[in-house]
């Protein structure tokens, strides 16, 4: 913004990031080539569970171009254990997780041995020369069976597959009554299975470790360069100030790159061992096996209600599959969901019990929404079942129960204080765009005429907790780190601005959005702002990007840093204008003397005066910069209403999304173009869970969906055009009024789609279709209920 023009915040600015990305001048980690760099290949376990009898790398060492080869046993005393930063209970069972397996492998794809060679092909070729002797052990694969006493064990020394039991009860917490006492004129009990998903970011993970001379520079395709640096220091013993972590261009994450990975530690071990830079870039096949998976829960949900539709109680029993070990935040994922089963409803009794369970599978951890999509799915599916039970329209049932606009701030039965929202407004807008009445009429017509292609309507009203997170709350939940975020703003002598952010974007467009915020706060041009991120040498402090936190926490830190800069510039400007700082107002991008509007100085004027430093007021340092760290006091709560109409061919099971309307309220919008893109992408992933994606293991524990041939992430031909709209109820918990948007679509879409499919099939007696709702499953659901041969 130049002085006096329209504000940048709210403007659909095209992204600064694009110029390099559309011309191929990119900086992916795999693009990095250093002098003398060696390449790493990893031998992975073909077994889901086996004892390692022996690993012999001696033949591999004789292969051409091989510089080093080693197994877990060779580094057992130095490799440490990969971290879990969220041990959710005091007595959590937390097994050691070596980057390279030593005594046993516990999932298909676990790293066993490595080759370091002159080039990638030589490294991969030499893997064949490594000899590993395994003694296969029983594979624990069934989540429900694994939780039972007497099950085969993933970690025999621990004596149980149950990692933890975490319970919330509103009666104990003082946030409500007991579910046992809840009025129960109607009870709905359902079991839903959250299938295992794979985040499937498009850029495979890659890491380069340059050991230098005792100072390590590490490039990694990660969402969390700052957190990774801390763990490198803790795990390797290298002092933190001798470690520099850089996340260059990062090609998507969706939570999947929120991890401290075996590969990052193995590459470090290899580089330290050989004293040369080492690169590891995974294949997609490696990625499917080794990068963490998401979801994988069995949810038992019981709703109690009065005949008039008033929801009186929610009781949730959850089994959460941890996989073979605990991931960085894996145990906490279902706990994030614990606060969301009550969603937007005014229920007064709630109990949540979660058991985290080990199985011989790849670890699970955060995937877009992380606990909140799972919770939203269960409550929104169950609300539809309750509506059927009561003979109510599903939207009217929700409206009867949700918090009204005038009731905010509202303390929920889970103990959170929702600051703002307007569920009526968002829903009414969605209904209008969707033509709800018209589609219900069309549905009746198809039902009456026994049309083989039935129409279903699905609704999902959701909220989520974003802006992770207040450090005190994280501490109370036993998370190891805080949830603050940091920003630095420095105005250069010529009036250009450099911003350093602790957020670490990988597609979210922070460079553009942060430039818009700074432009307004300092009265400088959008083009005159540079945003630096993702390198711990320039960005000293930060907690990175996940949980829709970057704008709601990092954006607020940025505003606070800008305001500190502006306060200092005000003192300098007042000195230049020979007035008191109190006489100045900052409007139209400049300081103006009240009553003498022609007397102005800009932040750029002050910057040059500070740089020259010839005539600064007493006590003013010759710099125009400031740091700020923001720790939110509460979460932010985006919400919205998504409506989906599906056409279901009852002869073939084929589902077509006929219409999809998403109305989201993410508070104040900085850049509507970016917000809309986030909703599109989130909805696509939500639809993908409903219709297409599932990670499948066979009975031996082999991952069958180990490539994009079997793990069917949707293409353009598989997805509908969606209609997006917004309501804008500003958050009252932060000065920007923002709430976060990264996960909303993925949270809302899945239940909307499945509710629509089930709604289409109600005349057939169908009350559920397991996800993903493939044609086969839909067809079987129709047949099983209508007495036809399956």
């Amino acid at each position: 913004m130049t002085a006096g023009t329209e504000p940048e915040v709210g403007n659909a600015r095209k992204r600064k990031e694009d110029a390099r990305l559309i011309t191929g001048r990119t900086r992916w980690t795999d693009n990095i080539t250093l002098p003398g760099m060696l390449h790493l290949a990893i031998l992975r376990s073909p077994h889901a569970h086996a004892r390692i009898v022996g690993v012999d790398v001696s033949a591999a060492l004789r292969e051409p171009n091989v510089v080093a080869a080693f197994s877990g046993a060779d580094v057992a005393d130095v490799q440490g254990s990969l971290p879990c930063a969220w041990p959710v209970t005091e007595d959590i069972v937390h097994p050691v997780r070596p980057p390279l397996a030593v005594d046993a492998v516990r999932h298909h794809g676990e790293a066993v041995a490595v080759i370091v060679a002159r080039d990638r092909n030589s490294a991969v070729d030499a893997l064949d020369a490594i000899e590993v002797t395994y003694e296969p052990l029983p594979a624990v694969l069934d989540l429900a069976a694994a939780a039972e006493d007497g099950a085969d064990l993933v970690h025999p020394d621990k004596g149980t597959n149950r990692s933890y039991t975490w319970i919330f009860d509103s009666a104990d917490a003082g946030t409500g009554g007991s579910v046992a006492d809840a009025e129960a004129e109607v009870t709905v009990h359902r079991r839903y299975v959250q299938q295992r998903l794979i985040p499937a970011f498009m850029e495979p993970r890659s890491v380069v470790v340059d050991p230098g001379a005792g100072e390590y520079t590490i490039w990694s395709a990660t969402q969390i360069p700052h957190i990774l640096r801390v763990f490198y220091a803790l795990l390797t013993g290298v002092p933190e100030h001798k470690i520099r972590v850089i996340a260059p261009d990062v090609g998507g994450g969706f939570g999947g790159k929120l991890q401290v990975t075996p590969e990052e530690m193995i590459a470090f071990l290899a580089a330290r061992r050989v004293g040369k830079p080492v690169k590891y870039t995974e294949t997609r096949g490696d990625s499917m096996l080794s990068a963490h998976h998401g979801r994988d829960q069995i949810q038992d949900i019981t709703l109690t209600a009065k005949r008039d539709g008033t929801l009186t109680g929610i009781h949730v029993k959850l089994l959460a599959n941890m996989g073979a070990y605990l991931g960085l935040v894996g145990p906490g994922v279902p706990i994030l969901g614990a606060f969301m089963f009550n969603s937007i409803y005014k229920v007064r009794a709630y109990r949540f019990e979660c058991v985290g369970v080990f199985t011989n599978t790849t670890i699970t951890d955060a995937y877009r929404g992380a606990g909140r999509p799972e919770a939203t799915y269960a409550i929104e599916r169950a609300m539809d079942e309750l509506a059927v039970e009561l003979g109510m329209d599903p939207i009217e049932l929700r409206r009867h129960n949700w918090i009204k606009a005038e009731e905010f701030p509202y303390t929920t039965v889970a103990g959170l204080v929702y600051d703002s929202g307007d569920y009526d407004k968002a829903t009414d807008k969605a209904l209008e765009l969707f033509d709800y009445a018209g589609l219900r009429a069309e549905q009746r017509r198809r039902r009456d005429s026994r049309d083989p292609v039935q129409l279903g309507i699905g609704v999902s009203t959701y909220t989520e907790m974003c802006g992770l997170a207040p450090s005190r709350i994280l501490g109370a939940l036993r998370y190891a780190a805080g949830g603050w975020e940091s920003a630095s703003v420095r105005v250069l002598p010529t009036g250009k601005v450099e911003v350093v952010t602790g957020t670490s974007p990988h597609g979210q467009g922070h460079v553009t959005a942060w430039s818009q915020i700074v432009a307004d706060e300092l009265g400088v041009a959008f083009e005159d702002v540079e945003v630096l991120h993702g390198d711990t040498r320039t960005s000293h402090k930060g907690l990175d990007t996940y949980g829709s936190r970057s704008l709601a926490v990092g954006g607020v830190a940025l505003v606070e840093a800008c305001r500190k800069v502006r306060d200092k510039a005000r003192v300098v400007a007042a000195h230049m204008l020979e007035c008191s700082p109190d006489d100045l107002e900052f409007t139209g991008g400049a300081f103006r003397v009240r009553g003498t509007p022609d007397a102005t100085k800009t932040v750029a004027d002050a910057a040059f005066a500070v740089f020259a430093a010839h005539d600064l007021p007493d006590g003013v340092e010759a710099t125009l910069d400031a740091d700020a760290t923001f720790d939110p006091q509460t979460f932010s709560f985006p919400h919205g209403t998504h409506l989906c109409a599906t056409l279901v061919d009852t002869r073939t099971g084929q589902v077509t999304i006929d219409r999809y309307v998403a109305v989201d309220d993410v508070g104040k919008v900085v850049n509507p173009l970016i917000v809309e893109g986030q909703v599109h992408g989130g909805v696509a992933q939500g639809i993908a869970q409903a219709l297409y994606e599932e990670a499948v293991y066979d009975t031996s524990g082999t991952l069958l969906t180990g490539s994009f041939v079997e793990y069917t992430i949707p293409s353009a031909a598989d997805l509908p055009t969606i209609v997006t709209a917004r309501t804008e109820t500003p958050a009252t918990s932060n000065p920007l009024g923002v709430k976060g948007v990264g996960e909303a679509g993925a949270i809302a879409a899945t239940p909307a789609v499945v509710n629509a499919i089930v709604d289409a099939l109600r005349p057939f007696g169908v009350d559920d279709v397991p996800m993903p709702c493939t044609p086969e499953r839909v067809w079987r659901a129709v047949r099983s209920q209508s007495g036809g041969a399956a």
Binding site: R15, D18, I22, T23, R25, F201, F254, H680, A716, I722
Partner: protein, 176 residues
């Protein structure tokens, strides 16, 4: 390299002639990335599903068409001309209509699929200068994107189609 069995390949990439001796098993995408420094073209999978590595390739007498460069051996590309996303813009850096439309309509987020998506779209529009939404969706179904839900990609490709048609009309008028 582990093999002494090497083959000489000559490929014109983005207007420069490159002559190299490569292992016969070398994929075109690896040749581009690792030998020629054309790291704008990327690898997203091992199974030719994702299309991130898409480039245009054509013989001396054939027009360049889109290929997944993970599914072509470098030796198969011997004697061809290849255009990557790095060679798509004009001589003075003016963006191709598809690149421009991707920027204008926010058709990329992380940008990893973008090189392949753009190259596929360029080829699609050579076949069909005025595709419907459905034709764009079908035409790009060999390119996966995880960020955008494709909605803005489809809009961008149709917008680029309109720009290219307008450019073609202008060119014809000038020629007439």
């Amino acid at each position: 390299m582990s093999s002494s069995n090497r083959s000489r390949v000559t490929i014109d990439v983005d207007g420069t002639r490159y002559v190299d001796d490569v292992e016969p098993r070398t994929l075109l995408v690896h040749h581009l990335r690792e030998h020629l420094g054309k790291v704008g073209t990327v690898v997203g999978c091992d199974t030719s599903n994702c299309g991130a590595c898409t480039v245009l390739m054509g013989g001396p007498d054939q027009p360049q068409r889109s290929v997944k460069s993970c599914s072509v051996l470098a030796v198969q590309a011997d004697g061809t001309g290849v255009t990557t996303v790095e060679g798509l813009a004009g001589p003075n850096g003016e963006l191709h209509a598809v690149q421009q439309a991707f920027h204008e309509l926010h058709a990329l987020q992380c940008g990893f699929c973008t090189p392949g998506m753009i190259m596929s779209a360029v080829d699609l529009l050579r076949d069909n200068p005025d595709p419907t939404e459905e034709e764009v969706r079908e035409g790009l179904s060999g390119n996966l994107c995880r960020c955008t839900g494709y909605q803005n990609i489809v809009r961008a490709v149709r917008s680029a189609a309109a720009s290219l048609r307008a450019q073609a009309e202008t060119t014809m008028e000038v020629a007439a």
